[in-house]
């Protein structure tokens, strides 16, 4: 049975309430595809039945599973590689020059999903710096408990390592672990993963030199976008760098940022005195 408009609206409302992420109309197929495995897991024949069950007897576990299934995306390693090129070409040299030799650089991957983004950053820095493990700390946060656990484990399926990870980096930084691939221990030590809901008050972290907040704002409505950017700014160093997704900008959302073009990508820096 396919999803009725009422069921879809219920899922939309649930996801908006729990994560502040707005599912646009027309995303019924996404709801079907993402929730079917949960329905199966619970021994239910389809998504319509799943919605009916959880609506009539709400429980935190099922609710969370539904929200997590709809708020996480398959990620590839160097998807839209320009913000990573910018890190090594421009941002890193400037930060190394500005900071003391014993100061640790702090980088935040703010919607780290299953870990591809923080480990991409870790690989690049490990290749660029002789002492990356002691010089850099990467904080990875995600809304999803399951994704945080996966990031900590640093294990990726064959299909995941096929998604845009250059083969030379795969052989340099990963080992086989059964049918999966495991990130090397020194990269895992550089990455600290924890749960964090960007739409709620943030825990004490940072201050960060670089923040990757990519493909997150697009899901939120304008007031939530504004409060997220404000909270992120509060956790950044005054001369820090913020990277957003290619389709995202602070322009027209929050005017306390300065846009800087780096090669084919853009970064945002806190405006002085704003």
């Amino acid at each position: 049975m396919s999803l009725t408009a009422t069921s879809f609206d219920w899922v939309r409302e649930l996801v908006r309430k729990e994560s502040a992420i707005v599912l646009q109309p027309g995303k019924e197929y996404l709801v079907e595809a993402r929730l079917l495995p949960i329905a199966r897991q619970m021994g239910l024949p389809d998504v319509a039945k799943l919605v009916e069950t959880v609506r009539s007897r709400p429980d935190a576990d099922s609710t969370r599973k539904i929200v997590e299934a709809l708020t996480t995306n398959e990620t590839s390693w160097f998807r839209d590689g320009d913000p990573f090129t910018a890190l090594t070409s421009t941002v890193l040299p400037q930060l190394l020059a500005a900071r003391g030799a014993n100061e640790r650089l702090q980088i935040w991957s703010a919607a780290s999903s299953s870990g591809q983004e923080p480990y991409t950053i870790a690989m690049l820095l490990d290749d660029a710096l002789p002492n990356a493990a002691t010089r850099v700390s990467i904080t990875a946060t995600d809304l999803s408990r399951e994704m945080v656990a996966r990031t900590k484990a640093g294990r990726f399926s064959q299909l995941e390592v096929n998604r845009g990870l250059p083969a030379p980096m795969l052989v340099r930084h990963f080992q086989r672990a059964g049918t999966e691939w495991e990130v090397s221990p020194n990269l895992r030590r550089m990455v600290n993963a924890s749960e964090c809901n960007l739409a709620a008050p943030l825990p004490r972290m940072g201050p960060f030199d670089v923040v990757y907040l990519r493909n997150v704002l697009i899901y939120f409505d304008l007031p939530t976008k504004q409060s997220i950017l404000r909270r992120v700014r509060d956790l950044m160093r005054p001369d820090g760098w913020l990277f957003l997704g290619a389709a995202e900008t602070t322009l027209g959302v929050d005017d306390s940022w300065e846009r800087v073009v780096i090669g084919r990508s853009s970064a945002y820096r806190p405006l002085k005195g704003a």
Binding site: A33, S157, Q158, L159, R176, G178, T179
Partner: protein
């Protein structure tokens, strides 16, 4: 496992690993699911349930030669093998499938599943070119790890089976 061994009453599994020492059904299923999702189609699920294979079955397999030596064998009904080949070829599928088309596509699935199984085994190991026909015989009933699945409701088995007979019991 201990490094010390008196050598007395050695079990055969101490001398040569059998497949169940090296992987379980869950691993084989995971490998097959990945192959199906990417080769056959994103919505194509394998349901881990046994079904009754029809009389006219066909197998495709690759041999793995290394610390563990054996075959990764896919077996299903002729009609299902054809449906799989069509799914694999999608719009590139010819109107009438020739037997060679089915051999080729069904063999390629064995190659892909076999490659992933091999990667999860201790290496280095070699992988043969795929073969299609009557499945190789099971030489040692203990050296088999097999999953039964349904694809689009039709039964299919994936068997990872050793090529060597059991070692004679030592006295």
């Amino acid at each position: 496992m201990t490094a010390q061994d008196t050598g007395e009453r050695r079990r055969t599994s101490d001398a040569r690993p059998v497949i169940t020492d090296l992987m379980d059904e869950g691993t084989i299923l995971a490998v097959a699911e990945e192959a199906w999702v990417s080769l056959v189609g994103e919505e194509e699920v394998l349901v881990p349930l046994a079904g009754e294979l029809p009389a006219d079955v066909v197998s495709s397999w690759v041999d793995v030669v290394g610390p563990w030596t054996g075959s990764v064998v896919l077996t299903t009904g002729q009609a299902t093998a054809e449906a799989l080949s069509r799914a694999l070829l999608r719009e590139a599928a010819p109107e009438v499938l020739e037997p060679e088309d089915v051999e080729d596509a069904f063999g390629e699935i064995a190659n892909v599943v076999g490659g992933s199984v091999k990667a999860a085994l201790p290496g280095p190991s070699g992988l043969s070119l795929p073969q299609v026909g009557h499945a190789p015989l099971v030489r040692n009933p203990v050296d088999v790890c097999r999953v039964d699945v349904l694809w689009r409701g039709e039964p299919l088995t994936i068997s990872v089976q050793g090529a060597l007979p059991p070692l004679p019991a030592s006295h």
